[in-house]
Symmetry: C2
Subunit: 245 residues, 2 copies
Protein backbone atom coordinates (compact mmCIF):
# COMPACT_ATOMS: atom_id res chain seq x y z
CA UNK A 1 0.00 0.00 0.00
CA UNK A 2 2.84 2.38 0.83
CA UNK A 3 5.01 1.02 -1.93
CA UNK A 4 3.54 2.97 -4.77
CA UNK A 5 4.49 6.38 -3.37
CA UNK A 6 6.78 7.14 -6.26
CA UNK A 7 4.25 6.31 -8.92
CA UNK A 8 1.90 9.10 -10.00
CA UNK A 9 -1.64 8.05 -9.20
CA UNK A 10 -2.92 9.00 -12.62
CA UNK A 11 -0.24 7.19 -14.58
CA UNK A 12 -0.10 3.57 -13.45
CA UNK A 13 3.11 1.64 -13.88
CA UNK A 14 3.11 -0.54 -16.97
CA UNK A 15 3.72 -3.81 -15.14
CA UNK A 16 1.87 -4.16 -11.84
CA UNK A 17 3.88 -5.65 -9.02
CA UNK A 18 3.31 -9.00 -7.39
CA UNK A 19 2.07 -7.13 -4.32
CA UNK A 20 -0.74 -5.55 -6.33
CA UNK A 21 -1.64 -8.88 -7.88
CA UNK A 22 -1.87 -10.53 -4.47
CA UNK A 23 -4.67 -8.13 -3.52
CA UNK A 24 -6.88 -9.11 -6.43
CA UNK A 25 -9.78 -11.33 -5.46
CA UNK A 26 -9.02 -14.00 -8.00
CA UNK A 27 -5.41 -14.43 -6.83
CA UNK A 28 -6.03 -14.37 -3.08
CA UNK A 29 -4.12 -16.98 -1.15
CA UNK A 30 -1.46 -17.66 -3.77
CA UNK A 31 2.16 -17.78 -2.66
CA UNK A 32 4.79 -15.54 -4.22
CA UNK A 33 6.11 -18.18 -6.59
CA UNK A 34 2.66 -18.75 -8.01
CA UNK A 35 2.08 -15.02 -8.37
CA UNK A 36 5.35 -14.69 -10.23
CA UNK A 37 4.27 -17.39 -12.62
CA UNK A 38 0.88 -15.75 -13.11
CA UNK A 39 2.43 -12.38 -13.75
CA UNK A 40 5.01 -13.78 -16.15
CA UNK A 41 2.25 -15.36 -18.22
CA UNK A 42 0.33 -12.11 -18.50
CA UNK A 43 0.54 -9.35 -21.01
CA UNK A 44 -0.63 -5.81 -20.31
CA UNK A 45 -3.25 -4.05 -22.35
CA UNK A 46 -3.99 -0.33 -22.17
CA UNK A 47 -7.08 1.30 -23.58
CA UNK A 48 -8.11 4.89 -24.25
CA UNK A 49 -11.58 6.16 -23.47
CA UNK A 50 -13.94 4.70 -26.03
CA UNK A 51 -11.55 1.92 -26.99
CA UNK A 52 -12.84 -1.66 -26.69
CA UNK A 53 -10.99 -4.53 -25.07
CA UNK A 54 -13.35 -7.09 -26.50
CA UNK A 55 -16.29 -6.85 -28.86
CA UNK A 56 -19.56 -8.72 -28.66
CA UNK A 57 -19.59 -11.60 -31.15
CA UNK A 58 -15.84 -11.94 -31.55
CA UNK A 59 -14.29 -15.30 -30.58
CA UNK A 60 -13.26 -15.16 -26.93
CA UNK A 61 -9.49 -15.34 -26.86
CA UNK A 62 -8.42 -13.58 -23.70
CA UNK A 63 -9.34 -13.19 -20.09
CA UNK A 64 -8.77 -9.77 -18.48
CA UNK A 65 -8.10 -8.42 -15.00
CA UNK A 66 -8.58 -4.68 -14.72
CA UNK A 67 -5.73 -2.89 -12.93
CA UNK A 68 -6.86 0.71 -13.21
CA UNK A 69 -9.52 2.79 -14.94
CA UNK A 70 -13.10 1.79 -15.63
CA UNK A 71 -14.64 -0.48 -18.23
CA UNK A 72 -18.28 -0.70 -19.26
CA UNK A 73 -19.75 -4.04 -20.33
CA UNK A 74 -22.71 -3.75 -22.67
CA UNK A 75 -24.76 -5.86 -25.05
CA UNK A 76 -26.65 -4.83 -28.12
CA UNK A 77 -29.86 -6.65 -28.90
CA UNK A 78 -30.50 -8.00 -32.40
CA UNK A 79 -32.82 -4.98 -32.82
CA UNK A 80 -30.00 -2.58 -32.06
CA UNK A 81 -31.00 -1.58 -28.55
CA UNK A 82 -28.15 -1.29 -26.12
CA UNK A 83 -28.10 -2.69 -22.58
CA UNK A 84 -25.42 -1.89 -20.02
CA UNK A 85 -24.59 -4.99 -18.00
CA UNK A 86 -22.16 -3.59 -15.48
CA UNK A 87 -19.14 -1.42 -14.85
CA UNK A 88 -15.83 -3.09 -14.10
CA UNK A 89 -13.68 -1.56 -11.35
CA UNK A 90 -9.99 -2.24 -10.69
CA UNK A 91 -9.48 -5.72 -9.27
CA UNK A 92 -12.40 -7.22 -11.15
CA UNK A 93 -12.14 -9.49 -14.14
CA UNK A 94 -14.00 -9.70 -17.42
CA UNK A 95 -13.99 -11.98 -20.42
CA UNK A 96 -14.22 -15.14 -18.33
CA UNK A 97 -15.89 -16.76 -21.31
CA UNK A 98 -12.42 -17.25 -22.77
CA UNK A 99 -11.63 -20.08 -20.37
CA UNK A 100 -14.43 -22.27 -21.64
CA UNK A 101 -13.56 -22.82 -25.24
CA UNK A 102 -13.97 -20.74 -28.33
CA UNK A 103 -17.33 -19.17 -27.68
CA UNK A 104 -18.01 -15.64 -28.85
CA UNK A 105 -17.87 -12.84 -26.27
CA UNK A 106 -21.43 -12.09 -25.15
CA UNK A 107 -20.62 -8.45 -24.38
CA UNK A 108 -18.55 -5.52 -25.53
CA UNK A 109 -16.02 -4.18 -23.01
CA UNK A 110 -15.25 -0.53 -23.56
CA UNK A 111 -13.06 1.76 -21.47
CA UNK A 112 -14.92 4.78 -20.08
CA UNK A 113 -11.78 6.02 -18.36
CA UNK A 114 -8.18 5.40 -19.47
CA UNK A 115 -7.67 1.81 -18.45
CA UNK A 116 -4.93 -0.73 -17.89
CA UNK A 117 -5.53 -4.47 -17.70
CA UNK A 118 -3.66 -7.72 -17.49
CA UNK A 119 -4.60 -10.32 -20.07
CA UNK A 120 -4.12 -14.06 -20.44
CA UNK A 121 -5.09 -16.23 -23.35
CA UNK A 122 -7.77 -18.76 -22.54
CA UNK A 123 -5.41 -21.73 -22.85
CA UNK A 124 -2.75 -20.17 -20.63
CA UNK A 125 -5.25 -19.28 -17.94
CA UNK A 126 -6.64 -22.78 -18.12
CA UNK A 127 -3.18 -24.10 -17.37
CA UNK A 128 -2.75 -21.68 -14.47
CA UNK A 129 -5.95 -22.94 -12.88
CA UNK A 130 -4.89 -26.56 -13.21
CA UNK A 131 -1.50 -25.82 -11.68
CA UNK A 132 -2.89 -23.57 -8.94
CA UNK A 133 -6.32 -24.86 -7.87
CA UNK A 134 -6.81 -21.90 -5.56
CA UNK A 135 -7.39 -19.74 -8.63
CA UNK A 136 -10.25 -21.98 -9.67
CA UNK A 137 -11.73 -21.76 -6.21
CA UNK A 138 -11.45 -17.98 -6.16
CA UNK A 139 -12.88 -17.81 -9.66
CA UNK A 140 -15.89 -19.86 -8.65
CA UNK A 141 -16.45 -17.57 -5.69
CA UNK A 142 -16.32 -14.46 -7.87
CA UNK A 143 -18.64 -15.96 -10.43
CA UNK A 144 -21.07 -17.16 -7.77
CA UNK A 145 -21.12 -13.63 -6.44
CA UNK A 146 -21.86 -12.36 -9.91
CA UNK A 147 -24.67 -14.87 -10.39
CA UNK A 148 -26.19 -13.69 -7.15
CA UNK A 149 -26.02 -10.09 -8.27
CA UNK A 150 -27.73 -10.85 -11.56
CA UNK A 151 -30.38 -12.85 -9.75
CA UNK A 152 -31.09 -9.86 -7.58
CA UNK A 153 -31.28 -7.55 -10.55
CA UNK A 154 -33.56 -9.96 -12.37
CA UNK A 155 -35.85 -10.09 -9.38
CA UNK A 156 -35.88 -6.30 -9.24
CA UNK A 157 -36.60 -6.03 -12.93
CA UNK A 158 -39.60 -8.31 -12.55
CA UNK A 159 -41.16 -7.00 -9.39
CA UNK A 160 -40.23 -3.37 -8.88
CA UNK A 161 -41.36 -0.11 -10.43
CA UNK A 162 -38.92 2.04 -12.29
CA UNK A 163 -38.33 4.48 -9.45
CA UNK A 164 -37.24 1.72 -7.08
CA UNK A 165 -35.04 0.12 -9.69
CA UNK A 166 -33.22 3.39 -10.27
CA UNK A 167 -32.79 3.89 -6.54
CA UNK A 168 -31.36 0.40 -6.18
CA UNK A 169 -29.05 0.99 -9.11
CA UNK A 170 -27.65 4.19 -7.64
CA UNK A 171 -27.06 2.51 -4.31
CA UNK A 172 -25.31 -0.38 -6.03
CA UNK A 173 -23.13 1.97 -8.06
CA UNK A 174 -22.29 3.97 -4.94
CA UNK A 175 -21.18 0.80 -3.22
CA UNK A 176 -19.04 -0.15 -6.19
CA UNK A 177 -17.60 3.18 -7.26
CA UNK A 178 -18.62 5.65 -4.57
CA UNK A 179 -16.24 8.28 -3.27
CA UNK A 180 -16.91 10.32 -0.15
CA UNK A 181 -17.00 14.04 -0.79
CA UNK A 182 -18.23 16.74 1.54
CA UNK A 183 -21.70 17.00 -0.05
CA UNK A 184 -22.24 13.25 0.15
CA UNK A 185 -21.18 10.24 -1.90
CA UNK A 186 -20.02 10.89 -5.43
CA UNK A 187 -20.48 8.11 -7.96
CA UNK A 188 -17.11 8.17 -9.65
CA UNK A 189 -18.16 7.12 -13.13
CA UNK A 190 -18.95 9.09 -16.27
CA UNK A 191 -22.64 8.31 -16.14
CA UNK A 192 -25.25 9.71 -18.49
CA UNK A 193 -29.01 9.44 -18.24
CA UNK A 194 -28.88 7.07 -21.15
CA UNK A 195 -26.53 4.75 -19.24
CA UNK A 196 -28.85 4.65 -16.25
CA UNK A 197 -31.78 3.91 -18.53
CA UNK A 198 -29.92 1.06 -20.17
CA UNK A 199 -29.10 -0.43 -16.81
CA UNK A 200 -32.62 -0.30 -15.42
CA UNK A 201 -34.51 -1.23 -18.54
CA UNK A 202 -36.31 2.05 -18.97
CA UNK A 203 -36.00 5.20 -21.08
CA UNK A 204 -33.78 8.18 -20.55
CA UNK A 205 -36.92 10.30 -20.25
CA UNK A 206 -38.17 8.43 -17.24
CA UNK A 207 -34.73 8.51 -15.67
CA UNK A 208 -34.52 12.23 -16.19
CA UNK A 209 -37.92 12.84 -14.61
CA UNK A 210 -37.10 10.67 -11.64
CA UNK A 211 -33.72 12.26 -10.99
CA UNK A 212 -35.20 15.74 -11.35
CA UNK A 213 -37.77 14.95 -8.70
CA UNK A 214 -35.07 13.62 -6.37
CA UNK A 215 -32.86 16.62 -6.96
CA UNK A 216 -35.76 18.91 -6.08
CA UNK A 217 -36.10 17.09 -2.78
CA UNK A 218 -32.37 17.41 -2.15
CA UNK A 219 -31.79 13.66 -2.24
CA UNK A 220 -29.20 13.79 -5.01
CA UNK A 221 -27.02 16.32 -6.70
CA UNK A 222 -26.83 16.10 -10.45
CA UNK A 223 -24.14 17.45 -12.70
CA UNK A 224 -23.71 16.49 -16.31
CA UNK A 225 -22.60 12.88 -16.39
CA UNK A 226 -21.97 12.75 -12.66
CA UNK A 227 -24.21 12.16 -9.65
CA UNK A 228 -23.82 12.74 -5.94
CA UNK A 229 -25.96 11.04 -3.33
CA UNK A 230 -26.72 13.72 -0.73
CA UNK A 231 -29.17 11.72 1.37
CA UNK A 232 -28.39 8.05 0.84
CA UNK A 233 -30.87 7.08 3.55
CA UNK A 234 -33.69 8.75 1.63
CA UNK A 235 -32.68 6.76 -1.41
CA UNK A 236 -32.73 3.59 0.65
CA UNK A 237 -36.24 4.52 1.72
CA UNK A 238 -37.30 4.72 -1.92
CA UNK A 239 -35.49 1.48 -2.75
CA UNK A 240 -37.29 -0.34 0.04
CA UNK A 241 -40.58 1.34 -0.69
CA UNK A 242 -40.94 2.89 2.75
CA UNK A 243 -43.43 5.71 3.25
CA UNK A 244 -41.78 9.01 2.38
CA UNK A 245 -41.22 10.93 5.57
Amino acid sequence: MSRKAKVPADRPSVLPSVEVLAQMGIFLGLDEAALDEVLAAARTAAAQVGEAYVCQGEPARSFYLLISGRVRLSQVTPEGQQVVMRFVSPGEEFGIVAVLGRLPYPVTAEAVEPALALAWSGEVFNGLILRHPQIGLNGMAMLAERVKEFQDRLREAGTQRVERRIANLLLRLARQAGREVDEGVLIDLPLGRQDLAEMTGTTLFTVSRTLSAWEERGIIGSARKHLTLRQPHALVAVAEDLPTS
Copy 2:
Protein backbone atom coordinates in the same frame (compact mmCIF):
# COMPACT_ATOMS: atom_id res chain seq x y z
CA MET B 1 -25.13 -46.53 -19.34
CA SER B 2 -26.00 -50.23 -19.60
CA ARG B 3 -25.17 -50.88 -16.00
CA LYS B 4 -28.41 -49.68 -14.49
CA ALA B 5 -30.56 -52.20 -16.35
CA LYS B 6 -31.71 -53.85 -13.17
CA VAL B 7 -32.78 -50.65 -11.49
CA PRO B 8 -36.38 -49.53 -12.05
CA ALA B 9 -36.38 -46.23 -13.89
CA ASP B 10 -38.77 -44.61 -11.46
CA ARG B 11 -36.89 -45.64 -8.34
CA PRO B 12 -33.30 -44.53 -8.72
CA SER B 13 -30.61 -46.41 -6.85
CA VAL B 14 -29.61 -44.80 -3.61
CA LEU B 15 -25.95 -44.43 -4.51
CA PRO B 16 -25.33 -43.43 -8.12
CA SER B 17 -22.45 -45.17 -9.82
CA VAL B 18 -19.15 -43.65 -10.83
CA GLU B 19 -20.27 -43.97 -14.45
CA VAL B 20 -23.22 -41.69 -13.82
CA LEU B 21 -21.05 -39.20 -12.00
CA ALA B 22 -18.56 -39.07 -14.85
CA GLN B 23 -21.32 -37.72 -17.14
CA MET B 24 -22.10 -34.75 -14.96
CA GLY B 25 -20.73 -31.48 -16.31
CA ILE B 26 -18.92 -30.56 -13.16
CA PHE B 27 -16.98 -33.84 -13.02
CA LEU B 28 -16.06 -34.11 -16.69
CA GLY B 29 -12.49 -35.17 -17.31
CA LEU B 30 -11.86 -36.71 -13.89
CA ASP B 31 -10.21 -40.11 -13.74
CA GLU B 32 -11.84 -43.03 -11.94
CA ALA B 33 -9.78 -42.63 -8.77
CA ALA B 34 -10.87 -39.02 -8.44
CA LEU B 35 -14.50 -39.94 -9.07
CA ASP B 36 -14.30 -42.59 -6.38
CA GLU B 37 -13.03 -40.02 -3.95
CA VAL B 38 -15.74 -37.55 -4.92
CA LEU B 39 -18.43 -40.16 -4.53
CA ALA B 40 -17.10 -41.36 -1.20
CA ALA B 41 -17.25 -37.82 0.17
CA ALA B 42 -20.86 -37.35 -0.89
CA ARG B 43 -24.05 -38.11 0.95
CA THR B 44 -27.37 -38.63 -0.80
CA ALA B 45 -30.45 -36.59 -0.14
CA ALA B 46 -33.93 -37.46 -1.33
CA ALA B 47 -36.86 -35.08 -1.35
CA GLN B 48 -40.60 -35.48 -1.84
CA VAL B 49 -42.63 -33.08 -3.93
CA GLY B 50 -42.90 -29.83 -2.02
CA GLU B 51 -39.94 -30.61 0.21
CA ALA B 52 -37.10 -28.08 0.27
CA TYR B 53 -33.40 -28.91 -0.04
CA VAL B 54 -32.35 -25.48 1.08
CA CYS B 55 -34.27 -22.44 2.27
CA GLN B 56 -33.60 -18.84 1.44
CA GLY B 57 -31.83 -17.09 4.32
CA GLU B 58 -30.43 -20.21 5.96
CA PRO B 59 -26.64 -20.42 6.27
CA ALA B 60 -25.27 -22.20 3.21
CA ARG B 61 -23.84 -25.50 4.37
CA SER B 62 -24.05 -27.85 1.43
CA PHE B 63 -23.56 -27.98 -2.26
CA TYR B 64 -25.91 -30.22 -4.30
CA LEU B 65 -25.81 -32.10 -7.56
CA LEU B 66 -29.21 -33.26 -8.77
CA ILE B 67 -29.31 -36.90 -9.90
CA SER B 68 -32.97 -37.29 -10.74
CA GLY B 69 -36.22 -35.39 -10.45
CA ARG B 70 -36.72 -31.64 -10.75
CA VAL B 71 -36.02 -28.82 -8.36
CA ARG B 72 -37.34 -25.27 -8.52
CA LEU B 73 -35.19 -22.38 -7.32
CA SER B 74 -37.14 -19.34 -6.18
CA GLN B 75 -36.69 -16.16 -4.19
CA VAL B 76 -39.22 -14.23 -2.19
CA THR B 77 -38.91 -10.49 -2.09
CA PRO B 78 -39.05 -8.62 1.24
CA GLU B 79 -42.62 -7.71 0.26
CA GLY B 80 -43.56 -11.35 -0.09
CA GLN B 81 -43.68 -11.60 -3.84
CA GLN B 82 -42.21 -14.77 -5.25
CA VAL B 83 -39.83 -15.02 -8.19
CA VAL B 84 -38.85 -18.28 -9.87
CA MET B 85 -35.18 -18.20 -10.81
CA ARG B 86 -34.83 -21.47 -12.67
CA PHE B 87 -35.59 -25.15 -12.73
CA VAL B 88 -32.79 -27.59 -12.00
CA SER B 89 -32.57 -30.71 -14.16
CA PRO B 90 -30.55 -33.86 -13.46
CA GLY B 91 -26.83 -33.21 -13.86
CA GLU B 92 -27.06 -29.60 -12.75
CA GLU B 93 -25.87 -28.25 -9.43
CA PHE B 94 -27.35 -25.81 -6.97
CA GLY B 95 -26.27 -24.25 -3.70
CA ILE B 96 -22.89 -23.21 -5.06
CA VAL B 97 -22.91 -20.43 -2.49
CA ALA B 98 -21.82 -23.01 0.07
CA VAL B 99 -18.28 -23.05 -1.34
CA LEU B 100 -17.65 -19.41 -0.61
CA GLY B 101 -17.98 -19.18 3.12
CA ARG B 102 -20.94 -18.95 5.40
CA LEU B 103 -23.25 -16.76 3.39
CA PRO B 104 -26.99 -17.38 3.53
CA TYR B 105 -28.61 -19.19 0.62
CA PRO B 106 -30.09 -16.59 -1.72
CA VAL B 107 -32.83 -18.94 -2.92
CA THR B 108 -35.13 -21.72 -1.82
CA ALA B 109 -34.71 -25.05 -3.62
CA GLU B 110 -37.89 -27.08 -3.62
CA ALA B 111 -38.54 -30.41 -5.33
CA VAL B 112 -41.40 -30.27 -7.85
CA GLU B 113 -40.93 -33.94 -8.68
CA PRO B 114 -39.56 -36.65 -6.38
CA ALA B 115 -35.87 -35.87 -6.40
CA LEU B 116 -32.53 -37.40 -5.49
CA ALA B 117 -29.35 -35.39 -5.07
CA LEU B 118 -25.77 -35.79 -3.99
CA ALA B 119 -24.57 -33.37 -1.36
CA TRP B 120 -21.19 -32.19 -0.09
CA SER B 121 -20.49 -29.82 2.73
CA GLY B 122 -18.83 -26.59 1.68
CA GLU B 123 -15.52 -27.46 3.34
CA VAL B 124 -15.36 -30.92 1.81
CA PHE B 125 -16.10 -29.64 -1.65
CA ASN B 126 -13.49 -26.97 -1.20
CA GLY B 127 -10.97 -29.70 -0.51
CA LEU B 128 -12.07 -31.67 -3.55
CA ILE B 129 -11.49 -28.67 -5.78
CA LEU B 130 -8.01 -28.08 -4.36
CA ARG B 131 -7.09 -31.72 -4.87
CA HIS B 132 -8.69 -31.98 -8.33
CA PRO B 133 -8.32 -28.64 -10.11
CA GLN B 134 -10.37 -29.87 -13.04
CA ILE B 135 -13.46 -29.57 -10.85
CA GLY B 136 -12.71 -25.89 -10.31
CA LEU B 137 -12.30 -25.40 -14.02
CA ASN B 138 -15.55 -27.18 -14.79
CA GLY B 139 -17.28 -25.22 -12.04
CA MET B 140 -16.12 -21.93 -13.48
CA ALA B 141 -17.39 -23.01 -16.86
CA MET B 142 -20.82 -23.89 -15.47
CA LEU B 143 -21.05 -20.66 -13.55
CA ALA B 144 -19.92 -18.59 -16.50
CA GLU B 145 -22.65 -20.27 -18.52
CA ARG B 146 -25.15 -19.36 -15.83
CA VAL B 147 -23.98 -15.75 -15.73
CA LYS B 148 -24.47 -15.57 -19.46
CA GLU B 149 -27.98 -16.95 -19.15
CA PHE B 150 -28.93 -14.42 -16.50
CA GLN B 151 -27.43 -11.64 -18.59
CA ASP B 152 -29.63 -12.69 -21.47
CA ARG B 153 -32.70 -12.81 -19.29
CA LEU B 154 -31.90 -9.43 -17.83
CA ARG B 155 -31.57 -7.99 -21.28
CA GLU B 156 -34.90 -9.52 -22.24
CA ALA B 157 -36.56 -8.19 -19.12
CA GLY B 158 -35.42 -4.70 -19.93
CA THR B 159 -36.07 -4.51 -23.62
CA GLN B 160 -38.85 -6.89 -24.59
CA ARG B 161 -42.61 -6.89 -24.22
CA VAL B 162 -44.31 -9.52 -22.18
CA GLU B 163 -45.40 -11.63 -25.12
CA ARG B 164 -41.84 -12.00 -26.38
CA ARG B 165 -40.53 -12.75 -22.92
CA ILE B 166 -43.02 -15.56 -22.49
CA ALA B 167 -42.14 -16.96 -25.89
CA ASN B 168 -38.45 -16.90 -25.02
CA LEU B 169 -39.14 -18.56 -21.71
CA LEU B 170 -41.09 -21.40 -23.30
CA LEU B 171 -38.34 -21.98 -25.82
CA ARG B 172 -35.75 -22.02 -23.05
CA LEU B 173 -37.77 -24.45 -20.99
CA ALA B 174 -38.29 -26.69 -24.00
CA ARG B 175 -34.55 -26.75 -24.56
CA GLN B 176 -33.96 -27.62 -20.95
CA ALA B 177 -36.78 -30.02 -20.22
CA GLY B 178 -38.46 -30.69 -23.54
CA ARG B 179 -39.63 -34.16 -24.54
CA GLU B 180 -40.70 -35.05 -28.04
CA VAL B 181 -44.25 -36.32 -28.27
CA ASP B 182 -46.33 -36.82 -31.38
CA GLU B 183 -48.19 -33.50 -31.06
CA GLY B 184 -44.96 -31.54 -30.64
CA VAL B 185 -42.58 -30.84 -27.79
CA LEU B 186 -43.88 -31.36 -24.29
CA ILE B 187 -42.34 -29.29 -21.52
CA ASP B 188 -41.85 -31.94 -18.89
CA LEU B 189 -42.35 -29.83 -15.78
CA PRO B 190 -45.36 -29.24 -13.55
CA LEU B 191 -45.80 -25.68 -14.70
CA GLY B 192 -48.65 -23.41 -13.66
CA ARG B 193 -49.54 -20.01 -15.05
CA GLN B 194 -48.30 -18.53 -11.82
CA ASP B 195 -44.89 -20.11 -12.34
CA LEU B 196 -44.61 -18.66 -15.82
CA ALA B 197 -45.62 -15.26 -14.51
CA GLU B 198 -42.99 -15.40 -11.80
CA MET B 199 -40.33 -16.30 -14.32
CA THR B 200 -41.14 -13.52 -16.77
CA GLY B 201 -41.91 -10.78 -14.30
CA THR B 202 -45.55 -10.38 -15.16
CA THR B 203 -48.93 -11.47 -13.79
CA LEU B 204 -50.71 -14.77 -14.19
CA PHE B 205 -53.53 -12.88 -15.91
CA THR B 206 -51.32 -11.65 -18.70
CA VAL B 207 -49.77 -15.10 -19.07
CA SER B 208 -53.20 -16.65 -19.31
CA ARG B 209 -54.34 -14.19 -21.97
CA THR B 210 -51.20 -14.72 -24.00
CA LEU B 211 -51.32 -18.51 -23.86
CA SER B 212 -55.01 -18.50 -24.73
CA ALA B 213 -54.30 -16.48 -27.83
CA TRP B 214 -51.53 -18.88 -28.83
CA GLU B 215 -53.65 -21.91 -28.21
CA GLU B 216 -56.36 -20.45 -30.43
CA ARG B 217 -53.80 -20.13 -33.20
CA GLY B 218 -52.68 -23.73 -32.64
CA ILE B 219 -49.17 -22.70 -31.61
CA ILE B 220 -49.34 -24.46 -28.27
CA GLY B 221 -51.42 -27.05 -26.50
CA SER B 222 -52.35 -26.33 -22.93
CA ALA B 223 -53.37 -28.78 -20.28
CA ARG B 224 -53.50 -28.08 -16.58
CA LYS B 225 -49.93 -27.51 -15.41
CA HIS B 226 -48.45 -28.82 -18.65
CA LEU B 227 -47.70 -27.23 -22.00
CA THR B 228 -46.93 -28.61 -25.44
CA LEU B 229 -45.29 -26.61 -28.17
CA ARG B 230 -47.10 -27.57 -31.38
CA GLN B 231 -45.45 -25.05 -33.68
CA PRO B 232 -42.09 -24.16 -32.17
CA HIS B 233 -41.16 -22.16 -35.27
CA ALA B 234 -44.15 -19.89 -34.73
CA LEU B 235 -42.98 -19.28 -31.17
CA VAL B 236 -39.54 -18.44 -32.45
CA ALA B 237 -41.19 -15.94 -34.75
CA VAL B 238 -42.87 -14.29 -31.77
CA ALA B 239 -39.68 -14.39 -29.75
CA GLU B 240 -37.77 -12.66 -32.51
CA ASP B 241 -40.57 -10.27 -33.25
CA LEU B 242 -40.97 -11.32 -36.85
CA PRO B 243 -44.12 -10.34 -38.76
CA THR B 244 -46.83 -12.94 -38.12
CA SER B 245 -47.35 -14.94 -41.26
